[in-house]
Symmetry: C2
Subunit: 120 residues, 2 copies
DNA sequence: ATAACGTACAACCAAATGGTTGCACAAAGA
DNA sequence: TCTTTGTGCAACCATTTGGTTGTACGTTAT
């Protein structure tokens, strides 16, 4: 899934199909590469469930699948959560510790922690 | 950056280095592959700024960079926001429309997407 | 001083990736 | 009917990727 998101062309296709459902050839006309190349990108996105296709006559209409985007985002949010809990653990340890010698403990990595505080 | 996240080994390295800062060889001992392979994975993550390395004697201590994880997550969140605004636009249109003929439009919600020519 | 360890990097290899062209086929239009 | 259009797929090619081994070099330990 991250693999499917790893190409700017595919992220752009995803963006366009979020904006509005459109056919494969319409998408292909937006890029320099051949139709087949775009068709393969669409296939990769489809395999990753990031888009869904719908048949309409001879056209295949493509639209983004917001569920999968949310899933990728949730996964990254979980990494952030891991980081926060690690910080919380360190904070606990520091709180429990009666600060034995404060002159040597100022080199810990908690100093440059950006404390991502963007409430979700 | 998504490319760096596209391999499970690298996501696992990221997870471990979120948990606790550790050396490259310590990381390498966790996987079946050779040290050099892990070292290259670490280099990819470093190039993507998802981790940072710190020299300590002959060791290189690796830790995750939460800023970059947050950035990836924010990018995906923005995709979701695009989707939500698209839905909001549709809702607006439907609200304005005096429901001309409800007998043919009840098939699906996204099937008859109005061609909103907007500039985002 | 010598050995062992941790790291980086180069060279190499197989497989995957991103692109191409060409072909087959169904749907729409002449 | 015959042609055009939209799509999918196969074959092919160059580059990248993920792995290997080997080598070099600084750091630690004996």
């Amino acid at each position: 899934m991250f693999h499917a998101l790893a190409t700017s062309t595919r992220r752009d296709i995803l963006r366009r199909t979020i904006e509005r459902e459109q056919s494969v050839s319409t998408l292909a006309s937006e890029y320099e590469m051949s139709f087949a190349a775009v068709q393969k990108h669409v296939a990769v996105l489809e395999a990753a469930n990031l888009i869904v296709k719908r048949a309409e006559g001879r056209e295949r209409l493509v639209r983004a699948n917001p569920e999968m985007i949310a899933r990728a985002r949730a996964l990254l949010a979980r990494y952030e959560e891991l980081w926060r809990s690690r910080i919380a653990r360190l904070d606990e340890l520091l709180a429990e510790t009666p600060a034995p010698r404060a002159d040597t403990t100022d080199t810990t990595d908690t100093t440059d922690v950006p404390r991502t505080e963007e409430g979700d």
